[in-house]
Symmetry: C2
Subunit: 147 residues, 2 copies
């Protein structure tokens, strides 16, 4: 049940979404993609399998899946939102994003949770979610740049 073989059926059931071939394909493509995709990039990939699939279907599904926390977004430097698959682990999504090759690497463990505790202790309130987006160059791209 790793990122390349998640239980899509259970995920969709949990979100109250029907398991259609296209919805499933969207999850499969995003889960198999090591980087992030724009709605249109995803759409182009989907058209190889479903000749008639429309862009509105892609947008509708991305919205539902993002609301459900199965996929997440990043702010691309071009100020558009891109999407990537993320297994939910206590609602925490931490990723390192290579701005060159677009690879998204999971950050398995981080100290933001501890930080949250301190913030609540100091200011009160409640934190419902957080976005941690680290932008940079992965080791491969860094090597390419300096070669």
């Amino acid at each position: 049940m790793n990122r390349h073989n998640p239980d899509f059926s259970s995920i969709l059931k949990e979100l109250g979404l029907k398991e259609t071939p296209k919805r499933r394909a969207i999850l499969e493509i995003l889960a198999a993609e090591p980087g992030f995709l724009s709605p249109e990039e995803l759409w182009r990939t989907l058209k190889a399998r479903f000749a008639t699939i429309g862009l509105p279907t892609v947008y509708r599904n991305l919205g539902e899946l993002a609301d459900g926390g199965v996929i997440s977004t990043i702010i691309h430097p071009n100020r558009h939102l891109y999407y990537y698959f993320c297994t939910r682990v206590n609602g925490h999504h931490h990723h390192f994003i290579c701005t060159s090759c677009r690879r998204v690497e999971d950050i398995p463990e981080c100290s933001v949770s501890a930080m949250e505790g301190e913030i609540i202790a100091r200011n009160g309130g409640a934190i419902t979610s957080h976005i941690v987006q680290l932008n940079g160059l992965c080791s491969d791209c860094l090597a390419g740049v300096t070669e």
Copy 2:
């Protein structure tokens, strides 16, 4: 030189931008605003001072200032980008965002820098920037909800 009285002249000079009344007003409004503003909200505020200011001017300035790191963006739940002033401290911007009253609170110190070190040590590569966005309810709004 706190967030309510930053040296706008120096900031603009450093970015190579001319100090026009409108550009200065944009910085002033964002710096005085405890929350985040959409381009159009900012524009409406600006029109009180400059009757003829156009929305393109707002967008152009937001882009330049965001590129310069003087202001930053958050992903609103409505999937649009909102802007807020942020003094640059080593290029790190950490904020707690109240999704109810929109207040943006600085997180003065956090552990993401340490996390970055660990990530680089493990995976290699380089991190050029990071976005840490904590969503939740500030103490006031939490009190309002539970009252």
